[in-house]
């Protein structure tokens, strides 16, 4: 959480410093979002341990089970994501939440597209497992 706040601060400072570069082409929100995402990626790529990004030689697509999550709040889901290792978390956030493709993720993080895919698969697996546990607890 502290890291997130630091990144928020750094991102907004970058926004204000580069405000003169905003050419009023497209939405300001999108422009700020892009800067924020890049700030986070920059932080992550510095911190990330590349050994965490273990590449799958063979991708195992998950057979996802339909689980009712209606009783889980956004904060709970956030905590689930934060519980992921940084490599999983980053790729999952970028792919699932921000909508980047694997090619874009690979370029931004400096990894291979196959590594991005494998990280996503692992993140999904772990999230699904944790979700199931949480579901049981919540009842």
């Amino acid at each position: 959480m502290i890291e997130a706040e630091d990144l928020l601060q750094e991102g907004f400072i970058r926004v204000f410093k580069n405000l003169h570069q905003f050419k009023f082409q497209g939405s300001l929100e999108g422009w700020i979002r892009r800067i924020m995402v890049h700030s986070c990626i920059k932080y992550v790529t510095k911190k990330i341990n590349r050994h965490e990004l273990v590449e799958f030689t063979q991708e195992n697509e998950l057979v996802e089970k339909a689980i009712a999550f209606s009783n889980l709040s956004a904060e709970d889901l956030m905590k689930l994501i934060q519980s992921l290792p940084i490599g999983y978390r980053t790729v999952f956030n970028m792919y699932a939440i921000e909508g980047y493709s694997h090619d874009e993720i690979s370029k931004l993080l400096g990894i291979k597209p196959s590594t991005s895919r494998s990280q996503l698969v692992k993140a999904r697996k772990m999230l699904q497992k944790n979700l199931a546990k949480l579901q049981k607890l919540v009842g």
Binding site: Q9, V15, H38, F69, L77, A96, K107
Partner: protein, 484 residues
Amino acid sequence: MNIDDIFKESLENHESDVNPKIWEHISGEINQVDKSPVWSIGFSKILLAGIGILIVSALCFWTLVPPNKTDSSNLPEQLMDQVNEIEVSGKDQSVAQNLINKKNQQKQTTTSVQKETKNNTVDHVITDRFDNQTKTFKQQANIKDQAYSNPVVDNTKDKTENRSTKNFTQENEEFFSNTKTNSINLFGNLILNKQNKNSYVSLGTRNHITKKTNIKPTEPSLIALEPFVIKRKAQECPSFYKDVWVPYMWTEYGNVFPQRSLEAEAGYEDYLDLRNQYEETQYSFDFAAGFGLKTPYGIFGELGLQYSQIQEKFSFTDPETIKKTQIITIDTLFMDGQIIANSDTSYIDIPGAVTIVTHNKYKFFNFPMMLGYDYGINPNFSIGVKAGAILNFSFRQKGRFVDEDNTPVWFSSSAPDRIEAFTDKISMSFMTGIQATYHLGDVMSFYASPQIKFIPKTITTDSYQIKQTYLNPALTIGIKYSIL
């Protein structure tokens, strides 16, 4: 609904509460940015202000320092106050000596006569520095001889001076008629001085004539100018240190020490870091030639054509490259008094051992338009300032850098799979500098000039994410040659 959709729907528009202190921190940081030092204002504004100051300073200086002109309305008094030094030939020195002797024989009351002549080889030169004095001298001489009906034979070719003499005749007849000749001779001083290894005959007086009497001179004084055949060498020749118009050609060579400035669009700061990591500026150069015109007031303008080349070094060590190294192991054994050697060759791979080095070149054809001011310290040396605009035409950039994926790529215009970062384009740059000029003669000058050249507009294409500008200190040396 798969797991991605579940998270996306829940978190896409989710807003977490943020610690209010963060906004205070951000506000504090932004205020610090606002209080950033003067250089954050932008080099372009500072440079433009500097050029403005230089031009205004030059104009002020020009206005405050009047040109060396003789006020004809007050000629006699001026003449008395001036120290007139005229170089004469060796032949003329003997004439001058005769005059001194004649003067002594006539026992005219006058001021001192000094002689220090040692060297008889004197150029037939009158420097224009003393043109006005010379002119005045001849005028006075003509006036005086006219008063005694003894016209001066003026061997000079400068007819205008004779004409101008008439203008002063009437006015100065009164002066001469009021001059006490026995006590004060208008041109009583004939001083031979040795200066600068040459002999000079200095005509004129250091005395100040402040009293005028009604006694008219009774006989011609020794000042009759006739023997003084004043010869001028290249009288009309423009010289860089004279107050005349001088059209000239110039050529120069500059040692440039480029200072590059990269500015990334928002979100490309990482890419900027990569560029800075692998690239460094190197010694660069430019050379130019053109025409110029110096005015009598010291201001000069120059136009020319310049070739400029900024050079940088791209050095990239690819961590994925592998260098094979051969290792040969030789084992030597002694067995039964014999030497048995056994060699073994093996190869090892050294990762990240290959470094790509490319010398990037950014080429420009420039059209400099300069304006400057030159102030003469002495006939041989002057200092000045100059500033101006340069029309740049950048072309055929050549070299490599890394792309956003940290992969070396070519940007050369001739490379088939190049990155479209540079293109032929026209832009404007500015320069300012000071210069020290040594005048090798009347027609040639040598100068050295520390300069700053500023390229405010990016030399990259508009679509490229990094803006690339330069502020280039340079040390330029050059030659000016008078056309006339």
